[in-house]
C-alpha cells in the first residue's frame, strides 16, 4: 500500500487546537499547552504512553471535556459555546468499551438512537439505520438485543451507531481492543473506507502496526504535550522520542532500519513495502536465484 500523500487534498484545516491546557479538579490527567491542526480528510493517529493524555485530548474535540485554557476550532469556528449534542452532529466518538453505549432492546433501536437524537425525520432515521446495518454487516442481527451479541459484533454495533449519525469527523478510541486478527483488519478497513469517502479519522491507539499501515499523520503525546507531529514516517523517524515514550516500532520498520547499513534505503511502513524494497536490494546485490521456483 503506497502512502498516499496528496498535499492539495489537505489544504483545509478540520480541527485546530490553540494552546490547549486542561486539568481535572483533582490535578489528574493534564494537558499542557497543546497546539496543532488536523487537516480535512486526514487519517491521524494519536499515540503515546498510558497517561500521556491521548483520550483526554480526543474528548475535547466534541466538548465532552472543556479546556481550562485555550481554544478549539472546528472548521474555523470555536466550539467553546456549543453543546456536546450540537457538536455530535459533526464529531463522532466511538468509545473504547462498546458496552458503555449499548442499551437498546434491538440492534435497530440501538443504531437509530443517535439519528433520532439529532432530530431527523422518521424516513431519514430509517434510511440511515438501514445503511449502517448494511455497511457493518449487521442486517441479520437487526431484531436481536445487542447486549446478547458476541463482543466483536457489539464492537461493530457501537461503530455503526456512531456512523449512523453521519459525523464528518470520526474519533476511534482503541477500536480494535479485544478483537482478533480478522476483526481488527475488518474494523480498520472500514475506517479506511470511511476516510476515502472524505471523513476525517482520528485514531487513538497503542497498536503501532495499525498506525503504520493506515494513518497518514501521527501525533505523539508525552506528559500532556505534543512530542512529535507530522506525517507518520517523519514521526517514526524520531526514535529517541518514541523510545522515551516506550513505544516499539513495527517489526518491519525496525528491520528496515537495521538493514540500512546494507543499503536498505528507507524503512518500510508495511510488509508489502518492505518486501518490495528488499527485493530490489537483492537484485542490486546480484542475487542469482531470484525468480527460481
Amino acid at each position: 500500500m503506497k502512502a498516499e500523500k496528496d498535499p492539495s487534498r489537505f489544504a483545509a484545516v478540520c480541527l485546530e487546537i490553540r494552546d490547549l491546557w486542561f486539568t481535572y479538579g483533582d490535578g489528574q490527567d493534564v494537558l499542557n499547552g497543546i497546539s496543532l491542526s488536523i487537516a480535512e480528510g486526514d487519517f491521524v493517529a494519536v499515540i503515546g504512553q498510558n497517561g500521556s493524555g491521548k483520550t483526554t485530548l480526543a474528548k475535547h474535540f466534541l466538548g465532552l471535556l472543556r479546556p481550562t485554557k485555550g481554544e478549539i476550532l472546528l472548521h474555523g469556528e470555536r466550539i467553546r459555546d456549543r453543546s456536546v449534542g450540537e457538536l455530535a452532529r459533526q464529531v463522532g466518538y466511538v468509545f473504547q468499551n462498546p458496552d458503555h453505549q449499548i442499551f437498546g432492546t434491538t440492534t435497530w433501536e440501538e443504531i437509530a438512537f443517535g439519528p433520532r437524537n439529532l432530530g431527523l425525520s422518521a424516513e431519514e432515521v430509517e434510511r440511515r439505520t438501514v445503511d449502517a446495518l448494511e455497511r457493518f454487516d449487521l442486517s441479520s442481527e437487526a431484531t436481536k438485543p445487542p447486549a446478547m451479541l458476541s463482543f466483536g459484533q457489539r464492537r461493530k454495533v457501537s461503530l455503526a451507531a456512531v456512523y449512523a449519525m453521519d459525523p464528518h469527523v470520526l474519533i476511534l478510541d482503541e477500536p480494535t481492543n479485544g478483537l482478533d486478527g480478522r476483526g481488527e483488519k475488518e474494523a480498520m478497513e472500514l475506517a479506511r473506507t470511511l476516510n476515502n469517502t472524505g471523513k476525517t479519522i482520528i485514531l487513538v491507539t497503542h497498536r503501532i502496526r495499525l498506525v503504520a499501515e493506515y494513518a497518514r499523520s501521527c501525533i505523539l503525546l508525552a506528559g500532556g504535550r505534543v512530542s512529535a507531529y507530522g506525517d507518520t514516517r517523519s514521526v517514526f523517524e524520531q526514535d529517541d522520542l518514541l523510545k522515551s515514550s516506550n513505544i516499539e516500532l513495527p517489526q518491519v520498520w525496525e528491520l528496515g532500519r537495521q538493514l540500512a547499513p546494507r543499503g536498505f534505503l528507507q524503512p518500510a511502513l508495511s510488509v508489502g513495502d518492505f518486501c518490495q524494497t528488499y527485493g530490489e536490494l537483492l537484485k542490486q546485490t546480484g542475487f542469482r536465484n531470484a525468480g527460481a521456483r
Binding site: D180, G181, G263, L282, T285, N289, R293
Partner: protein, 288 residues
Amino acid sequence: MTTAVVIQDLRYAYPNGAETHEASWVLRGVDMVVDEGEFLSIVGPTGSGKSTLCLALNGVVPNTTGGRMRGDVSVFGVNTKKHPVAALAKLVGVVFQDPETQLFNMDAEAEVAFGLETMGMPSEEIGERVDWALALMGLREMRDRSPLQLSGGEKQRLAIASVLAMTPKVLVLDEPTNNLDPQGKRDLFTALWDLRQSLGLTVIMVEQETEFVAEFSDRVALMRDGHLEIVGPPATVLGDVERMREIGVAIPQVTEVAYCLNRDFGLGLAFTRFGEALLSLEAKLHES
C-alpha cells in the same frame, strides 16, 4: 519430564442462555498434554473456545458454570470433575483479562493475603507469603495502595501476585495483556518468563499478541471452532501463514515478510522472531 496438564477429548456446552446464545458445544474435542515448566501459548479467533478452556483448567467449568462436559481434564493427576474449584485453586491459578474484577480487596496487601486466608493458613505464615509474592512481582512499595491507584501493568502484576501467593503449580492467564500498553505487554511476558525460570511454573497463556507469543513461548496451540487445530513450536504454528490467515489470527510481521519474500522471490525463509529475521535477511544479502 513430568506432565502438568492432560486434556482428553474435552467437550463442553454452557447451559442454555449463558455465554453463547445457542446451546452449542463451545469445546468440541480438545486433546492436549502440557509438560511441567512449559510456557504454552494458546491463540485463536474469538469464539474458538480459548477462555472456556482456561476455565476448564481450574474446574470453574463445569463445577461452577454447570452445562455439559465430556472428556477429562487432569492437572498433576487431579481430575477437575472430581474436585471442587476451591481445592483446585491451590494447584491452578487463573488470571483473567480484566484486573478490575479480580482485585476485589481494598489494598494490595489484603489482596495477596485473601487467597491464603481463605485456605486457612496461619496468620504468621501469611505474612511471609505476602512479602514473598509482592517482592516477586516487584510490588513491595505498592503494599498499601488501593487497586484504584495502580497502573494497568501494576494491576495485572498484583492479580498475578495474589494468585501466586497460593503457590500453584500451573498459572493460566486469559489475555492478560489486553488493556496494557506495549511496554506493559513486554514487561508482563518477561515477568512470566522469569517466573517460569525461577519457580519452574507451568505457564499457559491465551494471547492475541502473536509477536510476543513467538518470542516467549515454548509451544503454541492454535484453536479453531472449539478444537485444537495444531500444537507445536512457534515456528511451526505461526509460520504456517496460510492456515493462520484462513483462521483469522494475526501473524508476526516478520513471518509475513518471510512469506511475502518466499512467494515473490523464491527464497527459503522461515522465521517468527525479530532476531532470527534480521540475521536471515542479512545473510541473504550477503549471499550474492
